[in-house]
Amino acid sequence: MSHEKINECVIPKDLHYSVEDNTWVRLNEDGTVTVGMTDIAQHLAGPILHAKAKGAGTDRKKGKPIATVESGKWVGPVKSPVSGVITEVNEKLAGDAQLINRSPYREGWVVKMKPEALDAELKEMVTGDQAVAAYKAKIERDNIKACNHIEGSDTY
């Protein structure tokens, strides 16, 4: 997977990003999409202790929560970058929420969804070099000196 690193924050170039909400989308061959939190999101949250996704079958509009996570007394939503129905939940997160910290783009995915308006919503996301540029600006704006990675993180 081709990627860029900005201040130790990893940005794979083949994913699509909702930059403001720090989520990514991977397009799957079966027409579904996989959704997760970015490396920057896991850094900002710190070690994630709990993660609970909405169940399979849940219909979500873009921007609505598909999961809730807790890290160090902070609880927050993972907002859906697309509209659609959740088809699968990453069950591993229930027992090991820090998978999101260790492997935000691989093992720590949050849900898979059947999108309803993907073409239009992808236009509102960024990918490739455009994503790298958008995150470079965001990292500067949010004053992120270096993304932290906990023990056992994916190596890039």
Partner: protein, 363 residues
């Protein structure tokens, strides 16, 4: 943009929680950042978003004692909130606070620390989000994204009802309960304990406001709740009332891990070892054993108690090598190991530290 300051005064138990939830859900782009101060008129128990009230609390005791139980939408653990506390709530626009959670807590905690300092209390940030005075906790915090708002809450402790808290918790047994009582008395402090007399709340509020102004570098204006915010508060109160009706009491747990503050934990673990079990109640401070009570049964055990071993282990750091050394030294002069290998004992004792790491993500 100036910060809206709402001194809600004394409010109902539910309202002391619903204010910041309502403000969060009602927040729009033009809503000013808001700081709320409130004190509940009566006590209640409040659990974190990911906690199960039945596992945390003796719901039967709470019901008989008329103590409402609320599950808030922010993080953290179980707290008793009553009229001895001044509840501080920040409900801000997302971009008004640092994006990293750890830094957000630092910003929030600073004016509280400075306020305690003003009153002669040597309060300091204890990472990540506690405030301590010489190893004793004097403020708890919680945070969350509610609606579009970023919320951080904490409290000034004037007084604390240790006994009520001890009775309200769902704990495995009396050894654990007594340790909880002792630990709360030892590791939790208040204005009253530190200064013998409590300062005037009005004065605390004035000092706190001045410190917030200094830390945030912004002006304040006295504000009120909007109709939309009040409506959201009523909705969440209704939801909590309904939810409370579905909390079903659970029996006493066999195992339990309880945080007294970020450095001090009490745990009871029942470890299945070869041929039996080893049960331990341990209080650890910075991973060092401060108190330990052991029970072990391999079917052929002859030891009636483990007082000698408990004394030998007190003060040990909960790490494999040190525990192995202490156990080996003890059993070299005491033949009875309860039918267990030293490795069994080590694994049993390490369970509390491993469990703490699992639930906190930190060593």
């Amino acid at each position: 943009m100036p910060i809206r300051w709402i001194d809600a005064g004394t409010v109902s138990d539910l309202r002391s929680q619903s204010i910041y939830h309502g403000l969060g859900y009602a927040q729009e782009r033009r809503t000013p950042d808001t700081i709320v101060l409130a004190t509940p008129e009566s006590p209640y128990l409040c659990v974190g978003h990911f906690q199960d009230p039945a596992r945390e609390l003796d719901l039967e005791f709470c019901r008989k004692s008329g103590l409402p139980v609320i599950r808030r939408e922010t993080g953290g653990g179980t707290v008793l909130i009553d009229s001895g506390q001044l509840f501080v709530q920040w409900v801000f626009q997302r971009e008004s606070l640092p994006r990293k959670v750890e830094q957000r807590f630092e910003t929030f905690i600073k004016p509280i620390v400075e306020t305690y300092s003003f009153f002669g209390i040597d309060a300091k940030l204890y990472p990540v989000n506690d405030i301590h005075v010489n190893g004793r906790k004097i403020c708890g915090t919680g945070a969350g994204t509610i609606g579009e708002a970023e919320v951080v809450t904490g409290n000034f402790l004037f007084d604390f009802d240790t006994e009520k808290m001890v009775q309200a918790l769902n704990l495995p047994g009396e050894v654990f309960r007594e340790q909880t009582r002792e630990s709360l008395n030892k590791y939790l402090t208040t204005f009253g304990k530190e200064k013998r007399s409590q300062p005037d709340r009005k004065e605390v509020i004035e000092v706190y406001m001045a410190q917030c102004r200094k830390v945030l570098g912004r002006d304040f204006f006295d504000g009120n709740l909007t109709e939309k915010e009040s409506k959201e508060m009523e909705l969440i109160e209704e939801k909590w009332r309904e939810e409370a009706g579905h909390f079903i009491p659970l029996s006493r747990p066999e195992e339990r891990l309880l945080k007294i503050h970020a450095g001090v934990w009490i745990g009871q673990m029942k470890h299945a070892a070869r041929g039996g079990f080893i049960e331990s109640v341990i209080r650890m401070n910075e991973n060092r054993i401060e108190f330990i009570k052991l029970k072990a049964d391999a079917g052929n055990a002859t030891a009636k108690d483990w007082n000698g071993l408990e004394t030998s282990l007190t003060g040990a750091v909960l790490e494999r090598e040190q525990l192995s050394d202490r156990l080996a030294k003890y059993f070299s002069s005491h033949r009875e190991q309860g039918g267990f290998h030293i490795d069994d004992w080590v694994e049993a004792l390490l369970r509390i530290r491993n469990e703490k790491k699992r639930v906190t993500g930190r060593e």
